[in-house]
Structure formats: C-alpha cells, structure tokens
Symmetry: C2
Subunit: 367 residues, 2 copies
C-alpha cells in the first residue's frame, strides 16, 4: 500500500533555517500562481508582469532606481549568475580577457561561491576575514589580480550575520580598474541573500545606494517572507543581464537570461504579495523583534557561561558542548553549527521569544 504524503515539519522548533513561514498574503498569492511560469512570458503574461513588479520592489529595497534582474530559484542561482555575468563580461569586453578568471571572496562567503567556481570554471580565491568575521579589505586588495573578474562582499553572512565594508570593497575594485590599460575592472557583487530584508533598517552601508555595487543577491524566500522558491538577482547595468542571455526558440520571447528555464510563478506572486503587505513597516517590525530576540538569547547563553559571538544582525552563535547540541536535536530542536562547531540560531520571523524561552529551558535541562 502506498504511504500518503505526510505533513511537513512545523516551524515550532526550527532555529536553523534561513527560510520561514511565508506571510499569509504571500501564501495565498503563491497558491493561485502554482501553475504558472514567468520563464514563458508569451504564455504566462500575468506571472511575467508580476516579476517586473518584484524586481522593482527589490530595487527599492536595495537602493537601485532602475533595476535589472529577475526572480531566481534562490541565492545560489543568483550568486552563480552574478559570477557568470562577470566572467562573460570580462571574456567579451575586456581589452585583455583573463586566461584563468578568478573571483575573490572572503572566507565568510556562502558555499554557493564554491559551487559557482566549479560550475563556471573560475578559480575561487578565498581570503581571511578580520577578527570579527568581516572581509579583510587589505587581504582582498592583495588577492585581486589581472584575472579577477569579480569581488564578493557579504551583507549578512550565513554563519555570523556579518556585513562586509562594501564601500571599501568598491574602492578596491575601482583601484583595480585604474591600474589596467583598458580601465577594465572586476564587478562588485554583494551577497545579501539573507540580510537584505533586515539591512534597510540598520546603519550598515550595504547596497547600491551606498557604493558602486554592480550586482546584488537578495532573497524574498528568506526574510522577505515569500514562499520557496524566490531568490533575487539585481544588476545596475542592462549589459550585465545581457551577458547571461541565450536564444530561446519556441518561446514567444526571444532570449532568456536566467539559469533555469521553467520558473516558479508561485514564488514571484508570493514575493509581490509579501512586499505589498510588509514594505516597509512590517519588515521593520520583523527586524526589531528579531533583534530584541537575538539580544535576549545572546544574553541568556552568556549568563550560562557559554562563549557567545556578539550578534550584529539577528543571528546568534555560541560555543555549546557537542553533547548538549546533540541532546537538543533529540528533543526535535532544528539547530545547526558554524564551521567552528558553534551552535547557530537564526532569528527568523517565525522565531518567537516564547520559542527561545523553551529552548533555553531545554539547554538548562541538558547541560
């Protein structure tokens, strides 16, 4: 006999994920658009029009008045595509195209850049972060060479929620351009996949309005409260998107700049619905609640004698013994670890103070 399709996990004990419960309005819109494909605008016109609205919304969030881009399957696709655009532009436009193109990224960059490097055949040059987990600008400068097609800055790192000094990285990129005959320079890509919907409410300088950023990843299906799959790739210049285009016979449109072909209209519709509902007041409230929760949790863990990494954005890392970690997982807490084996708790919109109190009570019980 066939098993039925089971229930999904509840978010009641999920502290590890950078995804969350979609906003009800986003869920409703997504359900209506489940059978649409913005990748085929000739057939699915409403989904394609919504995608244009989604890109405008993300541009508003990230300080870009006339954004180019699209709704990706997630941050990984957006990061791969940003590197691909940089590689292709260098190959096709530079006075001296690089023989072995490379990308310079801080060690805090998401593993999708390692994936991008393998997929695209570029070298990933990883440089150290400073003592606080932010890109070391001198190390980035030292690593950038004639074959560097892109420099990556992270705005809200996956492990510690750190924001790299984006204007300083822009300075590195600009200086690199001044030292070449053709003025060719690497593109500056910012990965704000997670942080992008919290950062507008902080003092961080992270986006297009703060520096000459070329491309940026920001994911509606993370803090944008849209359903999976909804990532975002934004580009300042049309030429960057054009560098990704391939011809598309048998679709009514003539070219496609996306990595995937058929795409999710549900994610697109959910993005627009969530943004309409939450920008900016709802997102600000989510940020403030999460910040207070992260601060509370960091204090609670510190009070208990654990080494806590001071949170900046609402993501808490703490050095909790392996035995406690495993015991917490046995109690169905969905938690994960940093590369240094610290406990890592991501304060997403579904993470309430009550959840965190229960969690800390379990920590007390188990340590």
């Amino acid at each position: 006999m066939q098993q039925a399709v089971p229930e999904p996990q509840s978010f009641r004990r999920v502290l590890s994920s950078m995804c969350t419960e979609p906003h009800p309005a986003a869920r409703e819109a997504a359900v209506r658009f489940l059978a649409t494909n913005p990748g085929d605008p000739g057939t699915y016109g409403a989904a394609a029009e919504l995608e244009a609205r989604a890109v405008d919304a993300l541009g508003e969030l990230a300080g870009l008045a006339d954004p180019h881009g699209y709704v990706t399957s997630g941050g990984t696709e957006a990061n791969i595509q940003a590197v691909r655009a940089a590689r292709n532009r260098a190959r096709d436009e530079w006075t001296s195209p690089p023989e072995s193109p490379n990308v310079v990224a801080p060690e805090s960059a998401h593993f999708s850049f390692a994936k991008a490097a393998d997929v695209l055949g570029v070298d990933l040059l990883t440089v150290p972060t400073d003592g606080d987990g932010r890109a070391d600008v001198d190390a980035v400068r030292a690593a950038v060479g004639d074959d560097t097609v892109a420099v990556v800055g992270v705005a809200g790192s996956t492990e510690y929620g750190r924001v790299d000094p984006i204007p300083d990285l822009a300075g590195v990129v600009e200086a690199a351009g001044e030292s070449t005959p053709g003025g060719d320079r690497p593109l500056l890509h910012v990965d704000a996949a997670w942080g992008g919907f919290y950062l507008p409410f902080t003092d961080h300088e992270w986006c297009f309005e703060h520096a000459p950023v070329d491309t940026l990843t920001v994911d509606p299906h993370k803090l944008g409260q849209a359903p999976v799959p909804a990532g975002g790739l934004l580009a300042r210049d049309r030429a960057t998107l054009d560098a990704l285009a391939v011809e598309t016979p048998y679709l009514e449109s003539t070219s496609q700049a996306t990595l995937t072909g058929t795409r999710s209209g549900a994610g697109v519709a959910g993005t627009v619905a969530a943004f309409d509902e939450l920008w900016p007041a709802g997102y600000r409230e989510a940020y403030e609640t999460a910040t207070a929760n992260a601060s509370w949790l960091a204090d609670a863990l510190d009070d208990r004698g654990f080494d806590v990494v001071e949170p900046d954005l609402p993501l808490v890392a703490a050095d909790v013994p392996e035995s406690v970690f495993e015991a917490l997982r046995k109690r169905e807490w969905r938690i994960s670890r940093t590369g240094r084996d610290e406990l890592r708790v991501v304060c997403m919109p579904h993470v309430t103070r009550r959840m965190l109190r229960e969690f800390v009570a379990d920590v007390d019980d188990l340590r």
Copy 2:
C-alpha cells in the same frame, strides 16, 4: 495605491506550454509543503524523505531499479547538471582528460544545452537530424571525438515530439570508449523532460531499460502533472551524482549535488502525490487522450490544406500563415512557433477536444 496581485491566466486557451494544470492531489500536497526546503534535510526531513520517494518513482518510470538523482527546478537544471557531471567525470577520471571538452547533440536538442555550454565552458557540437527530425546517428558518430564528454539523445523533442534512436546512440558511445586507451567514453544523456511521462505507453526505446543510458532528464512539472518547479535528474551511477557534490557547511548534511541551494518542497510533494495518484493508469489515460487529440487536430489542419508534420508523440506542428497565427494570438490563443515558423500545439492534459474544436473553428474564421 498598490495594484493587487492579479489572477493568473486560465489554461482554457493555452496550447503552447509544456506545463499544465497540476493534478488536484498534487496541488494539495504542494500547498502544504510551500514552506519547506529539501535542500536542507536536517531541518526539513519530511520534504527530504519525499524527495527520495520521488526519485524512486522517476526511476520506476524510466526503467532504473536503483536510481540516483534529485528533483531539480526543471529540465534546464537537469540538463546542465548532466553535462556538468560528464565534464567533471572526464576531467577527474579519464586517462587523458579533454583539453576542450565538448558535447554532441542533435539540432533538435533543447536550448538549455546551449545554456549549459555557456555556463560550463564546454563546446556544443550540434549535428543535423534526419528528414524526420530524429538524431542522425552517422552525424553523431562523425562528430564524437577524443574531447567529447557527453552525447545527448532527445526522447520527445520540444519542436516536433520526436524520439531519437537511443540504443543506436548508446552504440556510438560504446564504440568511442573502445577506441581510447583507457576505455574512457562519453556519457549518454537522454532528455525526456517532456516525453518521459508519455513514453512508457509507447513502443519507443528511450530509457535506462532499453540502453546503457547514463543520465536522464524527466520533468514531473510537465506531463507528470506536478506543480512548477519539479524537474528530475536521474543517474545510473552514484559516481555521476558525486561528481556534482560540493561541501556544505552550516547545513546538517555535508554535501550537496544540486545546482540550486534552497529548493522547492512543494514541487517534491506535488510530484509524489501526482505519481501516487496517476501511475500508471492515469498517465496512460492522459497519453491516450492526448494522442487521439493530436491525431484529430493534425487531420483537421491537413483537411484545411495546411502542411502538417505527422505527430509521433502528441505534439502537432503545421505550416499556418503568419497572419492567421497573429490573429489567433489576438483571440487569446497561447500558441508558439517552431524554428521554421510553424504553428506548434502541445497536447497537454489540460488540452481537451472541445478546446481544439474551438481553436479549429477560429482557424476557419481567420484564414
């Protein structure tokens, strides 16, 4: 004032798409799994378990008892990943790794292979089809060289629904291996993205049980009646999936063989629900109905003096004047064109005889 999120198109006049209305059971399962990510099995265990069931189901469909693979965002990702695996295996395993890897594909292959070539830095060698739109085996054989990492066969081509002679292509691949010192040979990839859920009910030899196929694309969100996004990549050998793996810190799993990161649990749950409901009787019925519809439409267009490409799988192409085509689009018919500017009608499960009668009545009215 904000515009509301509009209604999506209805499928009432969609004749151009290879996607369709999801089965109600698939829709219901997808809605429940909207906020899950099988790419993070430590957190979203139910979605990850469903994905294993989905891969087994696709293996059953495609004649592979112990399938390796995953649910992709669609056929494009699956095709890119198949080529990437072939490229990586040649690079890492061949006695003489290719300097300039290439892929040999018939000109009927989907444009995602051109995308794969750009993304992955491999050359795409396109060879002619025979007079009937199937891969010309002699032309494929002539194109395969020492740097060929993959040969592509199409099982249900996008333009004409043609099925390449897969066992013959397997023979080409095998012969290529016999002529190299290390016995290294290209991988054989079959793109059955669209055809895969119709082909089990035909006499075609297209899948793992008919030939030593290495990888195969088959998309639940096309004829599988699952919601977007749900594609499928299957591989005969574990090593092929392993060639795609990158390490994944901060997830509880340790590596990831997918192209995207966060993935749609909705597509996965919808795939399992549709398969449970429809395999095999429901899919067979859909195939038989579509075949009868395609035959009826081909006859109707032929009766009216249009040149019709004899359908094999249920996809009808006919030489209809540009003016009629445009007038049909103005009446909201969602139709598309082949590379030779023929009208192309894909007989999907939502395409009923009544729709086709209305369509032909409009053709009569407009020609």
